[in-house]
């Protein structure tokens, strides 16, 4: 069954679907919401796929399925050439370690009562029988890799800025040496200057560990910078899928074009055009 897979494919998704059921009542029939309506794609090792779309388009549901938080209603998920049995209880530990996720809000995704060192050590404590001293060494090492220092080991999340917290969340995701990292809007809660640092960090880590990224975002300028391939989702369907250059230079679907038109432009020509237009409007 793996004849379509080359050695280089990290992730393959075939016609994956997810329905949610809204319970009915005496007067209201049961309602089924099709959050993801059959999405397929293939992603090579070390590449970045960006998933773009507005809120409610199913991009986060897709991320939850890729990270085994949600079980797909139907469809296949192949990671590293192996078909994943996503039924509860059938997931192997090895498979779970291969895929990790970084969430959008670094203020909400870290336990305020847990020291940073414990945050990073916890995945190792749960999944391995590594002694505490070694866990501590690994956590300190990882802190250095994401641009923090060993002095941060005993601090609590509230002592960090948003950008530093996102670094911690990324470090936590990397503790189990994953191969695939799902990033759910990792920079949308951050300031512009911090966003640049975190994006650079992600690029450095990708080079160092050969990571494959699924990068979920609604910011097209970030996507254009980081992605190799782009998928645009609209109401649970992938309406556009291709390499970055294909999608950005020649968007096929109406919705993609709307999305591009809605993105604010910060180049000097468009500012000039806007000012000229405004002058003409006031003169008239």
């Amino acid at each position: 069954m793996n004849d379509t897979l080359t050695d280089n494919t990290m992730l393959e998704v075939r016609d994956i679907k997810r329905d949610y059921e809204l319970p009915g009542s005496l007067f209201k029939p049961k309602k089924i919401i099709h959050a993801v309506k059959g999405v397929s794609f293939k992603l090579e090792r070390g590449k970045t796929l960006a998933i773009v779309g507005e809120s409610g388009c199913g991009k986060s549901t897709l991320a939850r399925m890729l990270t085994f938080i949600d079980e797909p209603t139907s469809g296949d998920l192949l990671i590293d050439g192996q078909k994943v049995d996503t039924r509860p209880g059938h997931l192997t530990q090895e498979m779970r370690q291969k895929v990790q996720i970084v969430f959008q809000n670094p203020y909400g995704s870290l336990n305020p009562r847990q020291k940073i060192g414990d945050v990073l050590g916890e995945p190792l404590a749960i999944n391995t029988s590594m002694p505490a001293g070694e866990r501590r060494d690994r956590a300190t090492e990882m802190l250095k890799k994401v641009g923090l220092g060993p002095e941060h080991y005993n601090r609590y999340p509230h002592m960090f800025s948003g950008g530093q917290r996102q670094r911690i969340a990324i470090a936590r995701a990397l503790m189990m040496n994953p191969k695939l990292l799902v990033l759910d809007e990792p920079v949308s809660a951050l300031d512009l200057s911090v966003q640049a640092q975190v994006l650079n960090l992600l690029a450095d880590l990708q080079d160092e560990f050969g990571l494959t990224y699924v990068f979920i975002s609604h910011d097209l300028s970030v996507v254009r910078y980081i992605a190799d391939e782009v998928m645009v989702m609209y109401f649970g369907e992938a309406v556009e899928y291709g390499t970055r250059d294909e999608v950005f230079s020649d968007p096929k679907h109406e919705y993609t074009r709307t999305l591009f038109a809605a993105t604010p432009r910060a180049d000097i020509e468009s500012i000039r055009a806007r000012i000229a237009k405004k002058k003409a409007a006031t003169a008239a």
Binding site: D191, L192, A196, L259, A266, I271
Partner: protein
């Protein structure tokens, strides 16, 4: 005469380690019909400065300014009763979190009619008619029906439209929009910005747009004030700001935009800017 003129505004909060200056000697002015953008990262004091103008800061804040004039009238030592007449009528504000800034216990119709009742003293019928007209103006479908809805029955974009309708209900002379589109999708952001800009052009309001998004600045502003750590780093018209930024901080911000990336890494702010909030000499004037 400027619509709003602020000279040397300082806002301080007392902390365990002494007084913290959230806004440090900021001066700015807005003319009638002008769009001024205030840009800065979180913690740069851009919202606090405008809350000081609105008189919405808690009493623990220490606000000092050489001058704070609205249409030539002092609004610093103004009595609370006079302030209530001014705020919401001549100066209105749109807040960042639309769902959180509406009262969940009342219908949106009640909340917009409250403004019309208090400031304009309209009777019930006239209030209803005006509310429907405003909802139509901000592009909410089925305005008659919408009036009876509660905030939780609407999406974020719809709630923001209601907030805008409330803000422009009394045809304010000055509208302060505090990150009006941060919580919204790009397509909705475009609609809301277009709406605010068309209302601004039609009513000739002065508009202060507080944002951290350089794209929003480029699409809306006439003039821009860049703030960092409570201080004004630069003030320029929008074209010269993007074309030839003067302060190192502005240069750094523009270089950090992903669309300005050169090579395979982004330029970070620290490459240009050492974190010293001392403004460039020309910005101090």
């Amino acid at each position: 005469m400027a619509l709003l003129q602020i000279d040397n505004l300082t806002v301080e909060f007392e902390t365990a380690t002494g007084w913290f200056k959230a806004v440090d000697g900021v001066s700015l002015s807005v003319e009638k019909g002008e769009v001024l953008a205030i840009v800065g990262e979180s913690g740069s004091g851009k919202s606090v400065a405008m809350l000081a103008v609105m008189g919405l800061l808690p009493w623990t804040a220490k606000i000092t300014a050489d001058r704070m004039l609205f249409e030539g009238r002092d609004i610093q030592g103004i009595s609370p009763a006079d302030r209530r007449k001014l705020i919401g009528k001549d100066i209105a504000m749109i807040f960042q979190e639309p769902i959180a800034s509406l009262n969940p216990c009342f219908t949106v119709g009640f909340q917009i009619e409250e403004v019309l009742r208090i400031h304009l003293g309209l009777d019930k019928k006239a209030r209803r008619a005006r509310a429907i007209e405003l909802f139509k103006q901000v592009g909410l479908p089925n305005p008659e029906e919408r009036l009876n809805h509660f905030p939780h029955q609407m999406s974020g974009g719809q709630c923001q439209r209601v907030m805008i309708a409330i803000a422009i209900a009394c045809n304010p002379k000055l509208l302060i929009a505090d990150e009006p589109t941060t919580a919204l999708d790009v397509t909705i952001q475009k609609q809301i910005l277009d709406l605010i800009m068309s209302l601004q052009a039609k009513n000739g309001m002065g508009l202060i747009m507080i944002t951290h998004d350089m794209g929003v600045v480029a699409e809306t502003a006439d003039r821009v004030v860049v703030q960092y750590k409570g201080r004004k780093m630069e003030e320029a018209d929008v074209l010269s700001l993007f074309e030839s930024p003067k302060s190192n901080y502005t240069k750094a911000l523009l270089a950090a935009l992903p669309e300005n990336a050169t090579g395979d890494r982004l330029t970070t702010v620290s490459a240009f800017f050492d974190g010293n909030p001392e403004p460039a000499p020309e910005a101090r004037a």
